[in-house]
């Protein structure tokens, strides 16, 4: 298999992860889009080597034909990731309308639990033994 296609898969995924870890909602969605591309490409690359399109009449008996099954799966995946991204964008839009803020804040409830836990932890360690 070609080294270079694996490299593309890896770079797309890596950049996707980096964007996913950001605080800006739009960058997170862009990151997800890149990870989706990476996954689709992975399906293709893993599915088999490149070849003639699997269309009757487009290949002769001696030609290598690209595997149609991963293509079908990737086709489904492309469309579904589009659906998911659209939905996320709608949420981001809604969030902007409501808060005028494109940033993912810490979960308020979780943060409160964390505070309690930290206080507990401090008491735990500073306790005379």
């Amino acid at each position: 298999m070609s080294f270079f296609s694996a490299l593309i898969v890896a770079v797309l995924f890596s950049v996707g992860v980096y964007l996913l870890l950001q605080r800006t909602l739009s960058r997170i969605i862009l990151g997800l889009a890149l990870m989706g591309h990476s996954a689709n490409l992975l399906l293709m690359v893993v599915g088999g080597r490149a070849g003639k399109a699997p269309i009757g009449g487009a290949f002769g008996p001696e030609d290598t034909v690209a595997d149609p099954l991963p293509q079908a799966l990737a086709l489904t995946a492309i469309v579904i990731s589009f659906g998911v991204i659209s939905f996320l964008l709608a949420i981001a839009y809604r969030s902007w309308v409501l808060t005028q803020n494109d940033e993912v804040e810490d979960d308020v409830e979780d943060a409160r639990i964390a505070q309690l836990g930290e206080a507990e932890m401090r008491r735990w360690w500073s306790r005379p033994r």
Binding site: L7, Q22, A53, P68, G83, Y93, W124
Partner: protein, 774 residues
């Protein structure tokens, strides 16, 4: 036997309803059930012999090969008569102890369930059924201890009992499963007949012993027993004598003939038993609450029973059976006496009680007899048991026999001392303790006139006192029962018989020493108390328990706070790292590298490089639309790669979707500021890059190994052959999507529809809830 156990549950179910009509009469109704069990036991006792027990089997979960087996042999009879016999007396006693409290219906029902679980426990042959009944006694005892649920002390005491015995029960379950798997059977009789071997058995026995020690309140798991004293006295009386705490002893007694020679057994059982005997008795001497005094005494006596069964010689098992019965009788009676004192004089503090003896001569005499039995004074049953114990320990033949014997003699003299303290404290003429008590007044109200208990109230105590006297004077009455219990444990007929007089033996001499030393300790009680007070405070088990529970709760808070801190990037980072590390390790160790070449075509390299550059630029872009367009460019690059790969359908789809996608991005972002906000969380950028790089490396390796992992040819050959002949299409990918795998496409359409609905709803929603209202 099944009917018998079910009867307890069925009658218990109607008791609460009955209680609202007949008041405390329910206790007499409830007493009928253990009475029936006792009578059944006596009848069945005639049908069994030393070697042929009564067995009943029923399919439990046949799919798992689980059979619920019940087994009635000599030892089961001993236990059953203890549980049922004392049960009857406890119910009769409770009938006088309570008046018309609203809890009595619930109380009687729970007590009956408790009794029934204990009956089930001693009859069960299947280890898992035994565990089930074991846990039932834990749960019902929890309900009983906390029956007066408005009292904080009762609730926390009940919780402590449940936590400690429940923890032990879980350990025991683990032990049972290990044993059952090692032996290939969960039937206790078969297991004991052919005990498995191997190191796993020692681990299993350790776990089983933890269960037995927690249940039988052995040091250091004993703290729940004194705190269970918050229960009404009938419960204490039952729990301490015949049920619950004897369950652990019962288990050790059953296991000891088969497992005594395993390396963990004797050292553990003997050392825990001896420690419990000494510490329990020592602490008992410090108590001022009569109930607590007896509770620590129980710990001490249980320790001795553990020790006797743990030694595992024939004589010591015989002695253990005797002590089990003797202890059940005298301890139940003593608790009932404390209940009577508490009930009539409203206190059970021996510093306040004064001159009860002069007012209640008959009660005092009875208490004297029963306590003397506990102290092991002839000619009472307790003396016989103590003699057997000292005799058996004197001839173990082990090197550690002598120190253990000395320990037991010390423990026995402490027992004599606290027995004397009990009688003197409850009925004697003046306060036994010199430790000043806050607000101590020579209790005039108590000292003057305490109402005499009714005859019905005293009757159960009399019955028990008569029994302990009768069995002491005429041991041949009870000898066959103990001999049969012994025979069913050990497998051979007893050659030894109970007797009041064995001649001038070592045991007799040691008994005399113990009694003498005990009375000496008692007569110097003020000095002893002073000495105990001046001793350094050793960490008590109660404090250990409190700290453990507090630490667990605080630790849980701290962990929750640490794990659930609310930052999305950190959650994602943890998830991604897990994704990288967990599959990454086996990947690196087992992965297969495929044959590699650099690229499929020069075009691939060109397109790929453009994509990589665009992706990296999108990562660092500061302007929102620049980032969107760069990601869009990557998408078009994807289309090009699909063409190179030989997937024109994908390429077309990708082009269309990407164009649409960029449109949607623009629509969604058109109101947002042109630049990304510079995040206030910039500290963690290095970590983010590191995680991203790690993920990239992982996916790179994963891709290579996934290619190399292919072992079978693709199944698509069939699709290629049949696309035209069966589905009438030349484009195989199209045929797969709409025909061969049509349901996938169906699902995909549903996803799109749902997403579209969501998008429509979100976009059309009003700015804020306030806008909906005009």
């Amino acid at each position: 036997m099944f009917v018998l156990i079910l009867a307890f549950g069925c009658v218990a179910a109607v008791l609460p309803v009955l209680a609202s009509r007949i008041g405390r009469g329910v206790f007499y109704v409830a007493a009928a059930v253990p009475a029936a069990a006792f009578i059944w036991g006596v009848g069945a006792y005639g049908q069994i012999s030393d070697s042929a027990p009564l067995i009943e089997q029923a399919a439990w979960v046949p799919q798992l090969g689980l059979t619920l087996g019940l087994r009635f042999d000599g030892f089961a009879f001993l236990m059953l008569s203890l549980v049922a016999g004392i049960g009857v007396l406890v119910f009769l006693y409770a009938g006088s102890y309570f008046h018309a409290e609203p809890i009595i219906g619930r109380f009687a029902a729970t007590l009956l369930l408790f009794s029934g679980s204990m009956v089930g426990l001693v009859l069960a042959d299947n280890l898992l059924a035994l565990f089930l009944f074991w846990e039932l006694t834990s749960i019902t005892s929890y309900l009983l201890i906390s029956i007066e649920d408005e009292k904080t002390a009762a609730r926390s005491g009940a919780m402590q009992a449940l936590l400690i015995t429940g923890m032990g029960g879980l350990a025991m379950l683990g032990g049972f499963v290990l044993l059952g798997e090692a032996a290939g059977t969960y039937s206790m009789a078969e297991l004991l007949e052919r005990p498995p071997s191997g190191s796993v058995v020692n681990v299993a026995l350790l776990l089983v012993l933890i269960g037995a020690f927690t249940k039988s309140a052995q040091v250091p798991f004993h703290s729940w027993l004194p705190r269970a004293m918050n229960a009404p006295t009938p419960v204490s009386s039952y729990l301490h004598s015949a049920t619950m705490v004897t369950a652990g002893v019962y288990l050790v007694a059953r296991f000891t003939p088969a497992f005594a020679d395993y390396s963990v057994w004797r050292p553990l059982v003997i050392s825990f038993g001896l420690a419990s005997m000494l510490i329990g008795a020592y602490r008992s001497l410090r108590q001022h609450d009569l109930k607590l005094l007896l509770a620590y005494g129980t710990i001490s006596q249980l320790g001795l029973m553990m020790l006797l069964f743990g030694v595992g010689t024939k004589e010591s098992i015989f002695a253990g059976c005797t002590l089990l019965l003797a202890h059940g009788i005298f301890k139940a009676a003593l608790f009932m006496l404390v209940g009577i004192i508490d009930h009539q004089s409203k206190t059970r503090d021996l510093r306040k009680l004064d001159r009860l003896g002069a007012q209640w001569p008959v009660v005092t005499a009875t208490a004297g007899v029963v306590a003397a039995s506990m102290a092991g004074i002839p000619p009472l049953f307790g003396f016989l048991a103590k003699e057997e114990a000292l005799g058996a320990l004197g001839e173990t033949g082990f090197a550690w026999g002598v120190p253990v014997l000395i320990g037991v003699v010390i423990g026995s003299s402490l027992t004599v001392a606290y027995s004397a303290r009990f009688v003197w404290g409850a009925f004697g003429p003046r306060p036994v303790s010199m430790i000043p008590h806050q607000g101590f007044v020579r209790n005039e109200a108590v000292g003057q006139q305490v109402p005499k208990p009714s005859k019905m109230f005293l009757a159960p105590v009399f019955v028990l006192a008569v029994l302990t006297l009768l069995f002491g004077l005429f041991p041949s009455l009870i000898d066959p029962v103990i001999a049969r219990a012994y025979a069913s444990l050990v497998g051979v007929r007893a050659e030894h018989h109970l007797a009041l007089w064995h001649g001038f033996t070592q045991a007799l001499a040691l008994s005399a020493v113990a009694i003498g030393a005990g009375f000496a300790l008692f007569s110097w009680r003020l000095r002893v108390e002073k000495l105990q007070d001046s001793m350094p405070q050793v960490p008590s088990a109660q404090r250990g328990y409190d700290r453990t529970v507090k630490g667990l709760l605080e630790g849980a808070d701290a962990v929750t706070g640490f794990v659930q801190h609310g930052s999305l990037p950190i959650y994602l980072g943890v998830i991604l790292l897990t994704m990288i590390v967990l599959p990454g390790i086996p990947l690196l160790s087992d992965g297969v590298m495929p044959d590699l070449w650099f690229a499929d075509s020069p075009m691939q390299v060109v397109v790929g490089l453009i994509m990589i550059v665009c992706a990296c630029a999108a990562a660092v872009a500061r302007r929102r639309f620049a980032a969107v367009l760069l990601v869009g460019a990557v998408g078009y690059g994807m289309a090009a790669l699909f063409v190179i790969q030989g997937a024109p359908d994908l390429a077309i789809t990708q082009l269309l979707i990407e164009t649409l996608g960029v449109g949607v991005f623009v629509l969604a972002f058109r109101h947002l500021p042109a630049d990304f906000v510079r995040s206030k969380f910039r500290r963690s950028q290095g970590v983010q890059i590191a995680i991203a790089l790690l993920a990239g490396v992982f996916v790179f390796l994963f891709t290579l190994f996934a290619i190399g992992a292919r072992t079978e040819p693709s199944i698509s050959g069939e699709y290629l052959d049949k696309a035209y002949s069966e589905a009438g299409g030349n484009n195989v990918v199209n045929v797969i999507v709409v025909d061969f795998r049509g349901f996938d496409t169906m699902g995909e359409i549903v996803v799109l529809a749902v997403a579209a609905l969501g998008v429509a709803a979100l976009v059309r929603a009003k700015r804020s809830p306030a806008e909906v209202e005009p």
